[in-house]
C-alpha cells in the first residue's frame, strides 16, 4: 500500500485549471483567501507551446491530438442505450476534451454565445405554449433566468474581448445584429471580424429569403484589445488554425491570453500541475468535503485539505469525480430517481456543402468563430405548431479553415478514392464552403452517465459510462434545420449542393462537437438536481461544481458563454454570501 501524505490546508481548492478555474481563481483571490488549483496536465503558454513558427501543424494537433486528453490515461465507455454493453472510447473522435493548463479553452473555436431567455425555462415555457412533453423527455427549468445571468455574460464577453454586434440593446432591436437574442445592456467590446466571401454569400442568400443574418460572436479579436484585467490581445490574423489548435498570436481568448498573466503573479494563488485528483474526501457525516486525494507525476498520493472545494474539470470528469466520491445519489434510468449522471446531453449537427462554378472562396483565410448565422430557427424563435418537436438551433456558414486533411469538400456521388476523387478535391477546394446546423438536444430519460461495471482507468478506478443516443425530438429538429440550410444553400446560387443529414445512431467516432452537457445538473430541489442555482452541491455544501455538466439540457448554441456566465454568477455569491456565512445557499 502506498502512503498518503497530508498537506497543509488551503482556503479554496480548484480541481482542474481551464476556463472556470481561472475565472474563479481570479475572483476568489481578490478576497485575500489562499487559492490552490490542481491540474492533471502540464503547464502551457502561448510563446512556448503554440508559437506561430510551428502551431500551423494539422497532423500534430488535430489528427494526433497533441493538445487533447489521452485516452490511454483517461477515457470513458460508451453505448447507445441501456440494453447494449458499453465499450471504451479507444481514441478521441466525437468530442475533444483537453488536458493541461487552460483546458479546452486553448483549442476552442471562440464561438461565444448567450442562450435565449426561453432556453432557461425550457419545460415551463414549451409546455405552456405547446402542451405536455412526452414522458421520456426529462427536461427541466434551470432555476436561473437569462436576466439574472446577463451581467455575467457581459463580464465574460468583456474579459474575452468578444467581436460581435448587438441585436437587442436594452430592448431596442439593432440592425445587423441578432434580433432574437435576449436583451443586452451594452454593445460587444469589439466590432465584428472582417468577413470573408463565403459568409457574405450566406448573408445575402439569407436576406433574400427574409431571414435575419448576423455576424457570429467571436473570441477572435477584430482589433487590438486590452481587457478589464489589463491583459492585451492582438488582432486576429485569420490564419485558419483556431479550433483544435492553440493560437500563437494572442488573438483568441483563452485563460492564458485573458487571466493567467494577472492571476499567476498573485502571492495567494498557487498552481500545481501533474496533480490528478482521484476523489473528493468527506468527513464522517458525509455532509462536508475535507479536501481531495490526488496523485502526482511520480505516482505519489497526497491528501490536500481545503475549506472549500470547487470542481472545475471538464463536464463529464466532474460527474466522474462525484460518482467516485460517493457524493449525491446516482441516477437510475429505470425509476428516474437519483441525480448524479442525470440528463447527459449533447449537440445534433448536420451540414449542407455548397459548390460554386466560378467563385473563389479561399477557405484557408479563416478564424474559429468567423461566420454569419441566422437564429430564426433556434429555441422558440419560431412557431413549432405542427412540427412535432421543440427547440432548434442556429444555422451558420462558418469560415474556420481550409486545412486540407480535414477540409476537402467533394460533390455528391464522388468516389472515396481514386482519380475521380483526386480531381474532385482539386476542382472544388477553393470554391466550396459548408453551412452548419447546430441543434439543441433535449434531456432524455435514457441518456445518462454512471460508472462502468467492467473497464477501469490507469488508476484502477471504474471508468465513466456514457449512455446516449439521439431521440425523436432531435431527429425531427435536425431534419427541419437541414431542410432550412439547404434552402439557404440553394439561394446562394451555387453549381450544386450536398446535403449531409443526421441519420442513424449517434456515433462516438466522427468529430461533432465538444459540447457535452449534463450529469450534475442545476435545479430547484435536491430531488431533481445535483446542484442548486449557485452550482453548490445539495449534499455537500462546501462543494461547488462548475461547467456544462450543470445544464439541465442542451440549447442550440456552443456552451462556453453560458458556462462562463454560470461561473461568474457562482463566484459572486461565493464572495458575497457564502464566505460570510458558509452553508447551504438555497
Amino acid at each position: 500500500m502506498s502512503t498518503v501524505t497530508k498537506l497543509p490546508s488551503v482556503d479554496v481548492l480548484l480541481v482542474g485549471f481551464g476556463w472556470t478555474a481561472a475565472m474563479l481563481g481570479q475572483e476568489l483571490t481578490e478576497t485575500g483567501l489562499k487559492v490552490l488549483a490542481l491540474e492533471r496536465g502540464a503547464w502551457r503558454d502561448t510563446s512556448t507551446d503554440f508559437a506561430v513558427t510551428f502551431a500551423q501543424d494539422e497532423l500534430r494537433y488535430y489528427w494526433r491530438g497533441a493538445l487533447y486528453e489521452q485516452p490511454s490515461q483517461s477515457t470513458l465507455t460508451f453505448r447507445n442505450n441501456p440494453n447494449q454493453t458499453a465499450l471504451p472510447m479507444r481514441h478521441l473522435g466525437s468530442f475533444l476534451p483537453a488536458t493541461g493548463v487552460g483546458g479546452a479553452g486553448i483549442h476552442w473555436n471562440g464561438q461565444c454565445w448567450r442562450f435565449l431567455p426561453s432556453d432557461f425555462v425550457a419545460r415551463s415555457h414549451n409546455e405552456q405554449r405547446y402542451g405536455r412533453l412526452a414522458a421520456e423527455y426529462s427536461v427541466q427549468d434551470w432555476d436561473i433566468s437569462y436576466e439574472e445571468l446577463e451581467p455575467y455574460y457581459d463580464k465574460f464577453e468583456y474579459l474575452c474581448g468578444i467581436s460581435g454586434q448587438a441585436g437587442n440593446l436594452q430592448g431596442r432591436i439593432q440592425k445587423g445584429g441578432n434580433p432574437f437574442e435576449g436583451t443586452r445592456q451594452r454593445e460587444y467590446p469589439n466590432p465584428p471580424l472582417d468577413m470573408t466571401y463565403g459568409p457574405e454569400l450566406f448573408r445575402g442568400a439569407a436576406e433574400r429569403l427574409g431571414l435575419h443574418p448576423f455576424a457570429c460572436p467571436a473570441a477572435n479579436m477584430s482589433r487590438a484589445y486590452v481587457n478589464p484585467l489589463g491583459v492585451e490581445l492582438a488582432p486576429c490574423t485569420y490564419c485558419g488554425f483556431c479550433e483544435k489548435y492553440g493560437c500563437g498570436n494572442y488573438s483568441k481568448s483563452s485563460p492564458q491570453t485573458t487571466i493567467l498573466p494577472v492571476l499567476m503573479r498573485k502571492s495567494n494563488f498557487e498552481l500545481r500541475t501533474h496533480a490528478n485528483v482521484m476523489k473528493v474526501l468527506k468527513d464522517s457525516t458525509g455532509k462536508r468535503a475535507t479536501g481531495v486525494l490526488y496523485v502526482d507525476a511520480q505516482g505519489r498520493e497526497w491528501e490536500q485539505p481545503a475549506d472549500l472545494v470547487i470542481l472545475c474539470a471538464y463536464a463529464q470528469h466532474n460527474v466522474h469525480l462525484l460518482l467516485l466520491s460517493d457524493i449525491g445519489k446516482p441516477y437510475d434510468p429505470v425509476s428516474g430517481k437519483g441525480v448524479i449522471g442525470k440528463n447527459y446531453a449533447y449537440q445534433i449537427v448536420s451540414s449542407v456543402d455548397v459548390f460554386f462554378k466560378d467563385k473563389i472562396l479561399n477557405p484557408f483565410v479563416g478564424a474559429g468563430a468567423l461566420g454569419v448565422a441566422i437564429d430564426d430557427f433556434n429555441g422558440d424563435n419560431f412557431d413549432h405548431k405542427g412540427l412535432n418537436f421543440i427547440g432548434g438551433g442556429y444555422i451558420a456558414l462558418w469560415n474556420t479553415n481550409g486545412r486540407p486533411i480535414e477540409t476537402h469538400l467533394v460533390p455528391e456521388g464522388t468516389p472515396k478514392w481514386g482519380a475521380k476523387w483526386k480531381r474532385a478535391v482539386i476542382d472544388n477546394y477553393l470554391s466550396s464552403c459548408s453551412i452548419s446546423t447546430h441543434g439543441g438536444v433535449l434531456a432524455h430519460r435514457e441518456n445518462y452517465l454512471d460508472l462502468d461495471p467492467t473497464y477501469t482507468d490507469v488508476y484502477g478506478r471504474p471508468m465513466l459510462r456514457m449512455t446516449f443516443d439521439f431521440h425523436d425530438n432531435e431527429r425531427r429538429l435536425s431534419n427541419y434545420l437541414t431542410d432550412r440550410a439547404a434552402e439557404i444553400g440553394r439561394a446562394m446560387q451555387p453549381r450544386e449542393i450536398k446535403i449531409n443529414g443526421r441519420d442513424g445512431a449517434y456515433s462516438i467516432i466522427p468529430y461533432q462537437t465538444t459540447h457535452n452537457t449534463g450529469g450534475a445538473i442545476m435545479g430547484n430541489h435536491p430531488e431533481n438536481s445535483a446542484v442548486n442555482r449557485y452550482l453548490q452541491s445539495w449534499d455537500v455544501s462546501n462543494l461547488f461544481v462548475m461547467g456544462a455538466c450543470a445544464f439541465p439540457q442542451n440549447a442550440g448554441y456552443n456552451p462556453t458563454g453560458t458556462v462562463a456566465a454560470l461561473t461568474y454568477h457562482a463566484a459572486d455569491v461565493i464572495k458575497n454570501r457564502y464566505l460570510k456565512r458558509p452553508g447551504p445557499l438555497a
Binding site: G65, R79, R90, G93, Y197, F241, P404, R423, Y429
Partner: protein
C-alpha cells in the same frame, strides 16, 4: 502519468538501427518486432518542442514485401495523373512507414486494455490490433487474397486489377484474416490523405506539391491583407514549418 514518457531524445541513428532490427526480426515474429521498436514520437508529450523532421530514404517499419504492396496501394487511392503526382511519389508510403513505426502505429495515446468484445459501428475502433499490427496483418492478407484470386501478389497486378482489389476492400469482400475490414479501409483512406496533405516535415507532401495542386498556401499565419478580397485568387507559394523554397539561404 503523462510525464513518465519523457525519457530520451530523438536520435536518428538509433532509429535507423532499431528499424533495421525490425526488418530482420519480422521474418520470425511480427508482434515482438513491433513491440521492440523505439516508440518515440516526433515530439514529446507535454513539451512544446518543434517537430523533428523525418529524414532518410529507407523504410524502417515496412519489410521489402510490405513496401512493394503499399507503394502500389497508396497510388490506387491517390493515383498519378495529369493533375499531379500520385501518393507514392509524394512520399505517402514513406510517411506511413514513419507513422506506423512511431507512437501512432503503437496506439500510444489510445486506450488498449481488454476485454475486447465485438463492438457496434457506433462504438468505433474495437480491435486489439494497434494501427501498426492492423496494417501488417492486412497487408499479408491482401497479398494472400491476390495470390488466390490472380495467382500474383498485389504489386505485380495490372493497375486495373489493383483497383478491383481496392474496390473489393472497400466493399468488405476481402478476408483480412481477423482484421476488421471496415476499420482497416477507413484508416487506410484517412492515413493516405494525411500523408498527402500534411506538412512535408512528416515525410509526405513532398515539395508541398499537394498544397500547390489545390491552392493551399500552407503554414502561414497572417492573411489579414486578403480577408475582404472576395473572389480573388491568392497567389502565394506555400510555406511549411521548415520554411519554403523561396527563402532558403543561398549556399
Amino acid at each position: 502519468m503523462m510525464s513518465t514518457k519523457k525519457s530520451g531524445n530523438h536520435n536518428f541513428n538509433r532509429r535507423e538501427f532499431l528499424g533495421a532490427m525490425v526488418v530482420t526480426s519480422s521474418a520470425t515474429g511480427i508482434a515482438s518486432a513491433v513491440q521492440a521498436f523505439d516508440k518515440k514520437e516526433m515530439w514529446q508529450p507535454d513539451r512544446a518542442d518543434v517537430v523533428t523532421p523525418v529524414r532518410g530514404d529507407k523504410y524502417i517499419f515496412f519489410t521489402d514485401d510490405e513496401a512493394a504492396l503499399m507503394e502500389k496501394l497508396v497510388d490506387c487511392i491517390i493515383p498519378p495523373d495529369e493533375l499531379g503526382p500520385g501518393a507514392h511519389q509524394m512520399g505517402v508510403t514513406f510517411f506511413l512507414d514513419r507513422q506506423l513505426a512511431g507512437d501512432y502505429g503503437h496506439a500510444y495515446s489510445w486506450y488498449m486494455q481488454g476485454p475486447w468484445p465485438e463492438g457496434l459501428p457506433s462504438q468505433g475502433y474495437q480491435t486489439r490490433l494497434t494501427p501498426a499490427m492492423l496494417y501488417r496483418s492486412a497487408i499479408a492478407a491482401i497479398d494472400k487474397y491476390c495470390v488466390n484470386t490472380y495467382k500474383n501478389k498485389f504489386s505485380t497486378l495490372s493497375i486495373s486489377e489493383q483497383n478491383d482489389v481496392v474496390s473489393a476492400l472497400e466493399n468488405q469482400q476481402v478476408d483480412l484474416d481477423g482484421v476488421p475490414r471496415k476499420t482497416f479501409f477507413d484508416r487506410l483512406l484517412q492515413n493516405v490523405t494525411e500523408g498527402y496533405f500534411s506538412d512535408p516535415i512528416y515525410g509526405g507532401n513532398r515539395n508541398m506539391t499537394a498544397w500547390k495542386m489545390i491552392g493551399f498556401p500552407g503554414a502561414r499565419y497572417n492573411y489579414r491583407a486578403y480577408v475582404t478580397k472576395h473572389g480573388e485568387k491568392i497567389s502565394l507559394a506555400p510555406v511549411g514549418i521548415m520554411g519554403g523554397p523561396s527563402w532558403k539561404a543561398k549556399a
